[in-house]
């Protein structure tokens, strides 16, 4: 199939960017979106033009490296899919496709379609873990976890930290990402001791970098792992509970 691409090209964080039009010819419908870009890049190299830079690695939809706005939608038109698992059979011969980097103030452009997503790691550093040093764990089966709880926790833990939720959100909010980690750990018995501290610390760092959530729900619609916005409600409840707890303890109550 033959396609026309308009791709955002920007040499560096500070350089001016612009859309450049490329023809992608003879693309197999079985190729992934990134493999289509590989073909374009080989041709660009042939013509002595620098290839389009985009982030990618596992190409199995699990590492979270890849991601771009495809016709205005994070990871493209097919739900529950990362860009690397989007196949060209979902497009029509002759289609025009607009390709842009993630759009969010918290994610400055590094080059072309590559952005800096490091604020997401900072949210994890603030509390997205269970404090257990190597060697001090108890025997695994002394802890009983109902299957339904474990499944729910796993639903949240599947997040691949790609940043699509932020890119699609009109507010550039990171609630879906943060709530997935808060819920993954907060649902489990191992996560209880730090549950309320964790949510407060993570939300504070999140708010330093990202916008506010006004429940558009766009994040859920583009999430390649189909993580539910119910987790945002859960995070908000925990956050509120944590704040009441702090107030109580400041007042000397137990």
């Amino acid at each position: 199939m033959d396609l026309t691409l308009q791709v955002w090209r920007q040499a560096s964080r500070t350089a001016d960017g612009k859309f450049v039009t490329y023809e992608a010819k003879g693309i197999s419908p079985d190729a992934s979106f990134l493999e289509m870009l590989d073909v374009v890049n080989e041709e660009l190299t042939e013509r002595n033009e620098q290839p389009i830079h985009f982030e990618h690695d596992c190409r199995e939809g699990i590492c979270g490296s890849c991601g771009m706005m495809i016709n205005g939608v994070a990871h493209g038109p097919i739900g529950g899919t990362a860009t690397c698992q989007l196949h060209m059979r979902h497009f029509k011969d002759g289609d025009n496709i607009r390709v842009e980097p993630w759009r969010a103030r918290a994610f400055p452009i590094i080059k072309d379609l590559i952005v800096d997503r490091s604020p997401l790691d900072q949210i994890i550093q603030a509390g997205g873990y269970i404090s257990v040093n190597t060697g001090s764990a108890i025997e695994a089966n002394t802890l009983l976890i109902p299957k339904a709880v474990q499944e729910r926790s796993m639903d949240a833990a599947e997040c691949i930290q790609c940043g699509a939720c932020v890119a699609q959100c009109p507010n550039g909010a990171a609630q879906l990402f943060t709530s997935a980690k808060v819920s993954h750990l907060g649902l489990l018995p191992q996560g209880q001791p730090e549950r309320y501290d964790r949510v407060v610390r993570m939300v504070e760092v999140m708010e330093e970098h990202f916008g506010s959530c006004t429940m558009f729900g766009e994040c859920e619609a583009v999430c390649p792992k189909e993580i539910s916005i119910d987790f945002i409600a859960r995070m908000n409840r925990d956050y509120l509970a944590a704040k009441f707890r702090t107030r109580k303890s400041e007042a000397g109550a137990t």
Binding site: S28, D30, A31, S32, E35, M36, D38, V39, E42, T45, E46, N48, E49, Q50, P51, H56, D57, C58, R59, E60, I62, C63, G64, S65, Q85, H87, K111, D116, S118, L120, D121, I124, Q125, A126, G127, Y129, I130, V132, N133, T134, G135, S136, A137, I138, A140, N141, L143, L144, P146, K147, Q150, S153, M154, E158, I160, Q161, H184, L185, L188, Q190
Partner: protein, 637 residues
């Protein structure tokens, strides 16, 4: 130099205890005076960096990704082995040890493998404590599944994303230490060389992938946890960026490279569909618990699978290996697929595929059970092939997946360069000539959480007051060499893209150093690689400069090292005149086509020493001594 494995004395089940009791220790107040560099943050690297920081060392951790959580460990699907014996099916530490030695076709070091089996139980405890949501039974206890090459259920899993969840556990432990200021993280930094001062590893040289800046970092010890080299084949199940540069640079500085020819070709991957293909996708081995592998009995049978009656199907693994059936080890299952396809009985485009059929399992268990067990794998298969595996059998074919070879390390995971440690897939230590499924995660985490943080103290204790500065002459010299090499790649200004060369190299390796190898094929491969490599340095086209993000330049350096490594793999495969595990030499097979080992002449690990660009590498042999397991011909019949 004779290779000393430093395996501790005493009975096999007391060796690790003995070693720990005799290591020199660094006192807690002194630990903060030591700097340790960790390169890579997959399971082994992230676990080691976090655990060493918890102990009090100053850790600097370098990854080429934007975040440590992107490491390719994240893509491991099926599970992690541990000798918990929760299923009461006769499992034990000894049995896991025995299965691993046998699965590796008796080419691994007993003491290391035993320690791995011992530590496996601690890994599960640690992961659960971190919040890894392993699959559970209705009663709330941990669930297990079976994997290839064994007859017990000892594999723990988290849906089809076990690697992801285990890596997130290690990643979160690492992020915690970063937040506490005990680990300094360097994302988007690629290690391009290791620096030796007086023969000891004292630092690294890196390129900042955003600015192109080349910088030296000094430390008291260096840990490489940079993964395997299956991308030498171009098409593999590895992530696109996975590469051998870190271990290859270390090899050139004096670390011996062990068993480079031991590569694992995984039996269940989605077949290649066209020239545009950039990678191959694995379908977890766990699918072989319920899927049955078959091809038509007659060559050239072009009927749809549902039109081929039961009596005209050949379930060749069940036929040839009745006691293990579809759960035969990976090397055997892969060769079986190649054999039937070579006979013209392969299915799908190009005849390079076999069926993995779930019809019986769906009939027996119901679709919902299969969906619960493998749903995400089935979805992934449907995404890629546009076929529905619930209705028509999957098509699968072997693909390069894992490399058992790697830098030679002793029992303490130290390479032949003092102060240079190697963990995870980057070393050669535990899997012999073939790795069993669900054992890579186990080894990466055992090395990272429990071995490296302990063994490194034994070395560091002797390094007090021997700090070096990154401004020293050795650093300046190494950095200059790195810069010169980059200049050569950018300056070649040739006509061909990096990828076009990589594909050609991959083809040579796959055809002649892949699933079946011959002396003649290997010799011609070595000659062809040399010609292609010369052409590469003259004719590669890397556009742009070093002083900017430049993905072609990143790849160019990695592919240059793949040429040299590919050559060494062929040299090693040629020298090993026997078949063992994943290394199948056509000249050495039994009457029924099984691998024929030669224990009289080849019961050793090959460790190659770099002798210069225009000199042949020198082979050193670590004799493998089997005190516990009796050498036998592997049989899965």
């Amino acid at each position: 130099m004779t290779l000393d494995s430093k395996s501790p004395p005493g009975p096999i089940d007391k060796k690790w205890e003995y070693a720990k009791a005799h290591y020199k220790l660094v006192n807690p107040a002194n630990k903060r005076k030591y700097d340790v560099i960790v390169v890579g943050a997959g399971l082994a690297g992230a676990a080691a960096a976090a655990s060493m920081a918890e102990l009090g060392y100053n850790v600097q951790c370098f990854v080429y990704h934007d975040s440590p959580r992107r490491a390719h460990s994240i893509a491991a699907q099926g599970g992690i082995n541990a000798a918990k014996n929760y299923q009461n099916d006769g499992d034990s530490i000894y049995r896991l040890f025995y299965d691993t030695v046998k699965g590796g076709d008796y080419r691994s070091r007993e003491s290391n493998v035993y320690r791995l089996a011992q530590l496996s139980v601690n890994i599960i405890d640690q992961a659960v404590a971190q919040g890894v949501p392993f699959a559970r039974e209705y009663g709330g206890l941990l669930e297990n599944r079976s994997f290839g090459g064994v007859q017990v259920s000892r594999t723990f899993y988290a849906r089809g994303q076990t690697g992801q969840q285990l890596l997130l556990g290690a990643f979160q432990a690492l992020e915690r230490q970063i937040g506490l200021g005990r680990v300094k993280m360097y994302p988007r930094h690629e290690m391009l060389d290791v620096v030796l001062v007086d023969g000891q590893a004292k630092g690294i040289v890196t390129r900042n992938l955003v600015t192109g800046t080349i910088t030296s970092y000094a430390a008291d010890a260096v840990v490489l946890a940079t993964g395997g080299y299956a991308n030498v084949f171009y098409l593999s199940t590895n992530a696109k960026a996975s590469n051998a540069t870190a271990i290859w640079r270390a090899y050139r500085r004096g670390a011996y490279f062990a068993n480079p020819c031991y590569t694992q070709i995984h039996p269940t991957c989605i077949p290649q569909s066209g020239d545009f293909q950039s990678k191959l996708t694995l379908m977890s081995e766990s699918l072989r618990n319920d899927g049955r592998i078959w091809v038509p009995k007659v060559a050239g049978d072009a009927r749809r699978p549902d039109q081929i009656p039961e009596s005209e199907r050949d379930y060749y693994l069940e036929r040839k290996y009745p006691s293990f059936g579809n759960l035969a080890p990976r090397d055997i299952a892969s060769r079986g697929a190649k054999e039937v396809c070579d006979e013209g009985r392969g299915v799908g485009p190009g005849g390079r595929g076999v069926y993995l059929d779930f019809a019986d399992a769906i009939k027996r268990l119901g679709r919902s059970v299969i969906e619960e067990r493998y749903g995400n794998l089935f979805d992934m298969y449907a995404d890629i092939t546009a076929e529905n595996p619930y209705e028509t059998p999957m098509r699968i074919y072997p693909a390069p997946h894992y490399t058992m070879g790697g830098l030679w390390v002793d029992y303490n995971l130290m390479s032949t360069i003092p102060g240079l440690y190697v963990g995870g897939e980057a070393n050669f230590s535990d899997h012999g000539a073939n790795r069993l499924g669900a054992s890579a995660l186990m080894q990466g985490l055992a090395d990272g959480y429990f071995v490296l943080p302990v063994t490194i103290g034994d070395y560091l204790a002797g390094q007090l007051g021997k700090k070096v500065s990154a401004d020293g002459a050795e650093f300046k010299q190494t950095q200059a060499e790195v810069e010169q090499r980059i200049g050569k790649l950018v300056g070649a200004k040739g006509k061909r893209s990096v990828d076009s060369f990589h594909k050609e190299l991959g083809n040579i390796m796959w055809e002649r150093c892949g699933m079946a190898r011959t002396a003649e094929g290997l010799k011609s491969a070595i000659a062809d690689i040399r010609v292609l490599r010369d052409q590469y340095w003259r004719d590669v086209r890397v556009l742009g400069t070093n002083e900017e993000p430049n993905q072609a330049l990143e790849r160019a350096g990695r592919v240059a090292d793949f040429f040299d490594l590919g050559e060494l793999m062929c040299i090693d495969a040629l020298a090993r005149e026997e078949s063992a595990g994943g290394h199948f030499r056509v000249e050495y097979q039994t009457a029924d086509g099984e691998a024929k080992r030669n224990d009289d002449d080849f019961l050793y690990a090959s460790a190659w020493q770099f002798k210069g660009d225009n000199a042949a590498p020198e082979l050193h042999k670590e004799a493998l001594v089997y005190e516990e397991v009796k050498l036998a011909t592997r049989s899965y019949k």
